[in-house]
Amino acid sequence: MSFTMRKDASGVVVVGVDGQLIVSNRHELKQKVLDAADGGARKILVDFSDTGYIDSSGLGALVSLAKKLREVDGELRLAGLNEDLRTLFELTKLDTLFAITESVDDALKKF
């Protein structure tokens, strides 16, 4: 299973990405987050602590989800990126588009 979901006490939905977020599983992530939004979730935190790599399709999926959540006054934030993944966001300048926090705990406190 590529993705795990849990709701924290403050109502933030935390989505864990296990392995990689790439062309073959990006739709699964999108569907899970959109289902959560349909169910009323407005604060979504994607946890990349257990993620090896992300490709451009995965980045596109995150951009798409961020847009859709914004349309319903929600927000998508990211946490737990390793050095490689941070480099990926910096290369594509997407580090300026997302709120990125080092640890999930910190992200939950600030959300």
Binding site: I22, D55, L59
Partner: protein
Amino acid sequence: MTVPLRLAVRRHDVSLPEPARTALRISVRLPSDLEVVEEAVDVVARHCVAEGLTVRRARFNLRVALCEALANAILYGNAENAAKHVHVHITVTEPHFLVEVQDEGAGFDPAAFADVSLPHDLEALGGRGLFLIRQLVDDVYLNERGNGICMVLRRA
């Protein structure tokens, strides 16, 4: 549950002109199915690490760049046609790893690849794949027909 291997992998020695001398060649053939991308990237990365590519470059640079190239080959090159395959050849030489990805499609204009940059709109959903390949590997070449890409990773 054991997942059946859907890739055909071959390893053989090849002779190259000086100064590369002899080299090892690993060939992988995969169907035009996005579901095999992860497995193919994993197989290629493991072979490259076994031949001396640093774990970090295999884990990140190679994996992301190869993932992009395979997705392009399957989605745009072969248009997900089940009758077509994607061919990956890794040539291991003393200084380099050459990773070639070729599809069976008509190819695209290599000139379009000459000036690859990020989309102006940060919120664009696509358009980052070729840019990432260029950023993550040391050199990139397209074949004349535009259906094959060769990505060069130096050992160091």
